[in-house]
Structure formats: structure tokens, C-alpha cells
Amino acid sequence: MKLFLLALRNLFRNTRRTLLTLAAIGFGLSMMIFVVNLQNGSYQAMIDTAVSSMAGHVVVQADGYQDEKEPTMLVQDASVVVATMASEYPDAVVAPRIFTGGLLMSAHSSVGVALTGLDAVAELQVQDLHEKVVDGEWLASDEREIVIGVDMAKTLDIELGDKLVYMGQNGSDEVQSRLFRVRGLFRTGSAQFDGRLAFAHLGAVQEIMGGGDVANMVTLHLDDADDAFEAAPRLEALLARPELDVRHWKDALPELFAIIQVDRGSGDVMLAIIGLIVAFGVLNTMMMAVLERTREFGVMLSLGMKPRQIAWLVLLEGLVLGLLGATVGLLLGLALSWPIVTYGLDYSSMMGSETMESGGILMDTLVFGAWDPVRMALYFAGAVIFCICAAIYPAWSISKLRPVVALRHH
């Protein structure tokens, strides 16, 4: 304990130098904490958006669809699946979806389309697509309704209420056509989305695919994403249909998690570089602080202190410096992160729209940070460990000193 006190006093022997070093550690760590909370928030948002729009917390699809994404791989008796899931999880939302590609034609022009058939009411509770409708309305009850993007509307040169003809192949490679009437136009800000996507009622797309009670996926949306890990095997057992593939969201979106992992990995490399730069600064400080006290260590050695004890003293100084610096960094990091966690960070002026595309997912430009306590604790510990490591070399070199040499040092 006395040694700890001595270490603390030694640190503040050169107050300015120690404060500068603390500032470097604190600034580095606070940046890392800020970045990690912002990252965590965007990943959460990406996952939430992707889970609600591209999958569900639990996804039921035809075996093989996960990898092939072939529109003709269909869940048969989809309404039975929907009913089973809804009765098992009455508080959750069950949303069947069916996808197909093809051509949309107006009187003036034609354009390739990715058409989604969905339960317009169920999706209201899952996605915010209806909020993106800038002209007209979201799907209501008429099977002929279609909602398309504003860019597509421009290409097709059509207005609300105009007729469109869909043309494409069904499951039996027969060309199918169907008439739609434009009910709404949406704007997401992404040219990819606004120029390619169209939404219609499930029944209409089922008919295009040759009729029948089918869907490409039946999705279950829970209040708590973690419940999915238990719900997926349970539903699989309950449905008892081997031709169906039931999986939870983590398994349903492997690409998304791969993207996040790569992004997080490259972020970690950057953060490690920041940490290393700060660590070299600390090493420099420790080295100077130790060398200028060579004579004093010589005195301590002559008084009977053991080299090992002197090494401990130096390591302890590294520890105290690390603890103080990391505390400053943590507090500063929390203070910097708080506004983005509470009020979010608005990219809209930068992106020029309310939404942006990230990894193929349409995201809100208002991104909220999310506390990442595990990583914050990890970085805090990392900062302390880096400081102790930066003290190892000075501690080792001073412990090799012979007292008579150290005493002659000026």
C-alpha cells in the first residue's frame, strides 16, 4: 500500500508531463469508446432493419431457399404455417412474403422490377415502408393495388391511379401477366430501392406464381429478439414438415453478420493502432521518468531495496497511470457518447435524404448510438494493460542496474 502511494506521488512529481500523458490516454480511450458505441448503434439498427425487412426473428422457408433464393422454392400451405405460428405466438406478428422478378410496363415504357407480395396489414407493424410513401397510400384491400418507388414512376412516366402490366415467368416457366393499379409512390432515397422495388398483395403475387397457398418465407417478429433462439426449434417441431427450413435471425442473415464482423474487425484494427500510438507515448513517458531517477534508484538499492521491488514500483506507476488515464478516458467517452445514444447522430444533411443504404439495407439517416458495456470494459482494461506493458521495459532495464553505477548517474 505504501508502495502504491509512492508510485502515485512519483507520477505527480512532473505534473505537467503526467497530465499530458493522462490526456493522451484519456483522449485515445474516449475516442475508442465513442466509436464503439456509435458502431454498436449502427449495427443494432442494421440488424433491426434487416431482420424486419429481409427476414424475421424466425423465418420459415422451403428447404434450400436460404442458399438458392430461387423464387420457385415455395412454402406450400403457407396459411397453415401462418396460423400455426400465430396461435403459438399470439403477441407476435406473422408476415408471409413472396418474391418474384419481371417487367412492369406502362403505356409509355417498361422497367425491370423486384416484386414483393406481402400481407399489407401485418407489415405495417413490422416495417416502416408505409411511412416512406410520399404520394398516394400504402396498400389497402384491393388485390390489384401496387406501390412502387418514385424513380420507377418517373421511368414509367405514370401517375397515381395509372395502370401497369406486370409480365414474368411463373414456376412452370410460363409467361404470366397481370394488371395492377398504382396506389402509392415511395421514396427511400436509395436509387436501387426507388427504381427497382414494388409491393403488392400476397394474393396477387401468389396468382402470378401459378396460384395456390404459397410464400417464399413466413416470418415471425417477436418483441424480444433473443426469444427467437428458443422459438425456432420449437416451431420446427410443431410444424413437423421436413421440407421446411426453420431458422432464427442469426442463421437467416449470415451475410449481414459477416459484413458486421468485417466492419468491426477493420474498426478494431484502427482502434488497436490508436492504442499502440498511445502506448508508445506512455512508454516514452515511463522511460524518461525512470531514467531521470536512476540515481534515486541507486540510493534505494544501497539502502537495501531489491531490484525486484524497484521493478514493482515502476510497474505500479504504470498501473496507476493506466487506471487514472483509463478513468479519464471512460468518463470522457461516456460524456461524448451520451448525446449520440440519447439524441442520435443525424447523417441526413450529409446524405441528402432521410434514409441511406448500408450493406444492401435501407437505414434511417438518424443513427442512434447504443451502449456497448462489454467493449467499453474491454477497452478500459486494455488501456490499463497497455500502460502496464509500457512500464515493463523501463522496469526491467532499471532492475538490471548496479547500485554503484546508478549512484554515479547525474
Binding site: R9, E296, V299, M300, L301, S302, G304, P307, P403
Partner: protein, 227 residues
Amino acid sequence: MPIVSVRNLTREYLQGTHTVHALRGVDLDIEPGEFTVLMGPSGSGKTTLLNMIGALDEPTGGTVTIDGKELGTMSSGARSDLRLERLGFVFQSYNLIPVLSAFENAEFVLMLRGMGKAERTQRVMETLHAVGLEGMENRRPNQLSGGQQQRVAVARAIAGKPALVLADEPTANLDSTTSGELIELMKALNEDHGVTFLFATHDPNVMAAAKRVVRLVDGRIDEDLHR
């Protein structure tokens, strides 16, 4: 039995390509209760001999025996322990630990020995009283005069009741009045408390106070005068 017994001690070291013979075969015994001065011109080997006896440096040849134990046979850890338990040091430039108060500097060695707090406090207070520093316990070295700092250094050296205090030019940085007071103090500690002192010094005042003066010339004992 002498506390220190030096036999045929030699120390050579290289200065560039040139070998310096700092000690050329020294024999010396120090008995308990002595107040002995090593004197001689610069480069005569005083400090080198003091460092050998203090187990701070290793000889080229010959032996140093302290309390019947030969230093050459001891590990560096054992030599640390010997310094801690049996020796006290006073340096020319005080060499106090600047971040510790007078009390804590004197306490330092006792703490390293693992002495309990109550005993430590009592011992330090007694020692600071003995060197005339009562009331200044909480001052840091930079709040003390040179003479007061050297008194703290003496307190640190004697607080552990060592068998021998080694003092290398302890008065060299002090004015004559202060140095006279310090010599009086050490003499009193020698006479009243039986502390054994071995000095290396040029200071004629220290020599005047000494009971024994050993004169070194060119690494050899030239004269050994008992009074």
C-alpha cells in the same frame, strides 16, 4: 570480532583501453564503536573502498568480510539484505527521496524491513529527535535546508540501528557551521549510542573529530593512525 575485515583487496577497472588500479591490496579491520575516517587525495581509492565495504561494488581480488560473512560468496539478494539489515549510508548530496517527507524518508528502510507501523513510528520519532529535527517530520526535502536534509539522511542511516554507517563526503555540500553541527551530531551518536561510523572525506573538521584516520595513497594504505 571486527564488523568489517578487508583482506588484500584490489579493484581494477577499464577507462578506455587503460586499466585503472583503484585499490592495490588493502587490509583493514573496523571494530564496533569506531569513528574512522578514510582520507587521501582524489583518486586515492576512498570511495571505491567504501563502496566495496558497502557491498555496492565487487572487488577484482581479495575479500571483504562483514559480520563474519564474506561478501564474495553471497548472492546479490543476500547482499541487498545485508545492506538493509546491517549497513547505513550517508551520501554527499543527501540523496533523499524527494516525494517522501522527512518522516517517510527515515521510515523507508524500516518499511523495507517489514517492521510494524507502531514500532516504526516510535523508532522514527526517536531518531528524528536524536538528529534534532522534531517538528519537521512532515516536510519534504525541498522544504528543508541542506544541513537539515543531511540530518534526515543521517536519521535514515541510523534508524535501523545498523552495525556500521558508511558516509561518503557527508559534509562536502555544507557550510562550515552546518558541517560542524553535523559532525557533532554524528560524534554524539557514536559516543552516546555506540553507532560505528566509517567516513571517506577531505574535511579537516571530520578528521579532527575522528578516533582513527586511515590515509590512502594510490590505492594503498599509507598510514593508519589511532588516537
